[in-house]
Amino acid sequence: MVAFSLFVLVPVVGGLLMSFVEWDLFSAPQFVGWDNYRRLLTDPSMWASLWVSAQFVALGVIPVTIIGFVVANLLNVTMRGIGFLRLFYLLPLVASSAVAATIWGNLYQPQSGFINQVLGWFGVDGPDWLTQPGLALPSLVVIMIWGALPLVALLYLAGLQRISDDIYAAAALDGAGRWTVLWQITWPNVWPTTAVILVLQLIGFLGGSLELALILTEGGPLNQTRSLALYAYQTAFNNLDIGYASALSFFQLLLVGALFIVGLYLRRISRRGVKG
């Protein structure tokens, strides 16, 4: 309990306090009032990194949710060996961000990477995925989707098990096709699961692959993969600008809090929708 409050609750309050000072970890902290927040609102780098975070969210959340839903439906069968096959779908869970970065960093390599080698086979001269402006961010999003997919699929699998057989029997009587059933019957019935997944993934992608970006792109090219989280990280650990980094962190927490509340609201609506 003490440890929990020390490292979960104290940081939130402490972070808030720290965001009102200017400090480089070594000299005495200076109280500067709202300066860090004023600076935050007028800092073009902050807005640029917020935009990067928004792009991570925009490119990642909906694809991972839909692919996860389709995969869960694909796997929701009884047959010999399905447990073994499911294992393959879960493997990305085991890869740490450093391992994922190593694998994908290699896949994306312009000469030694598999992706460009296959493209070269078809006579296409593949780009340098991680350093070309405009491509680096989507390339990181693909890695994040790969990593997040197992959890989304697992949550949907659990959601699918709760849909009663009667609904499907009724649909079959009405002569609904398989695709119609998937999107007209199954999809609306897993809305509560979808709401949870959307919140988790929104928050996850808002973090904008801090670790992957640190390892693979260092925020580049042209700061195009420097999400808000990475900006706060660099402000704190590269520039030792602790007060401002705290303000950035607290701003992020507010964003997450807002998303969380929106999520709870969505979930309430979806529950009502399913009942009514």
């Binding site: 940081p11 402490g14 009884t78 047959m79 779908y89 960093g105 390599q109 509560p192 706060a232 969380f260």
Partner: protein, 274 residues
């Protein structure tokens, strides 16, 4: 339950999907054994012609025995600390009636949705002010304190145990502490195994925290040591060596995961995320 037997076309899709999703992992294993001429071969090779073990030898010169030992210390330290912190709390929340237990539970649930990415700077500051940079307690305790998941998992489990068991023990005059250690914990072995495997995997894979807190090489863990070998945009290290390093870094958790797969799935899905 709306599961059914799939047609042959669907089976083909399931197998194709498995190959695509697990593809990068196969790629890692396959290329980690290739010579550099095989890696640059055209058309690209799917499998190495011989097993080039020297990649692993080179990788192990970066991922030293000390690094591997550190990783086990770090991950096991987190698992054990987490169990010590979360089990009593979960038991109290599930079984001991007291005021405001609902509020307290809420306090534990909310942080589960805040990834450490967002609290990194403030957590680092607390650790710094405690003078815990480059210490094992600084590496382990702040990460182990993220016990929301554990508390929820165990609370649900304890709440599901038959109430009569605890009432009988209370009537016999046993203290809550004794009931906890002699009844509740022994009845939770499968749950403990589930949790340990999930938590070990997560802890082994931590990257940013050990990177910023354990800057002294004496505290380097395997994922921190691996990162410079990753084929980043500006990397100079041979791809096969990096991939061999990735295999080594992943092997312990892969073994745990395959052995505990069934439990892992239950643990992830059954925490009341719903």
């Amino acid at each position: 339950m709306n599961t059914h037997r799939p047609g042959p076309l669907r089976v083909v899709w399931i197998i194709l999907g498995a190959l695509v999703i697990a593809g990068p992992i196969f790629y890692m294993f396959s290329r980690s054994f290739m010579t550099s001429s095989e890696i640059y071969a055209f058309p690209p090779l799917l499998f190495p012609t011989t097993l080039e073990w020297s990649n692993y030898a080179t990788a192990l010169s970066y991922l030293t025995p000390l690094v591997i030992l550190n990783s086990f210390l770090f991950a096991i330290g987190i698992v054990v600390t987490q169990l010590l912190l979360s089990l009593p709390v979960a038991f109290a929340l599930a079984r001991i009636p007291f005021r405001r237990s609902g509020t307290l539970l809420g306090l534990f649930v909310v942080p589960m949705f805040i990834p450490a990415t967002f609290t990194l700077v403030p957590m680092f500051l607390v650790t710094y002010l405690l003078g815990w940079l480059n210490t094992w307690q600084g590496m382990i305790v702040p990460m182990a304190a993220q016990i929301s998941f554990a508390v929820l998992l165990f609370r649900q489990h304890f709440a599901g145990l038959p109430a009569g068991l605890f009432e009988a023990a209370r009537v016999d005059g046993a203290s809550w502490g004794r009931i906890f250690w002699q009844i509740a914990v022994p009845l939770s072995k499968p749950m403990l195994a589930t949790y340990c495997s999930v938590s070990f995997l997560t802890a082994w894979n931590f990257y940013v925290w050990p990177l910023v807190v354990g800057t002294n090489p004496a505290y380097k863990v395997i994922n921190v040591a691996l990162a410079p070998l990753a084929g980043g945009a500006y990397s100079q290290i041979s791809p096969a060596v990096g991939l061999a390093g990735a295999v080594i870094a992943m092997l312990p958790v892969l073994v745990v995961f395959i052995a505990m797969q069934r439990w892992y799935v239950k643990g992830v899905v059954g925490t009341g995320l719903e």
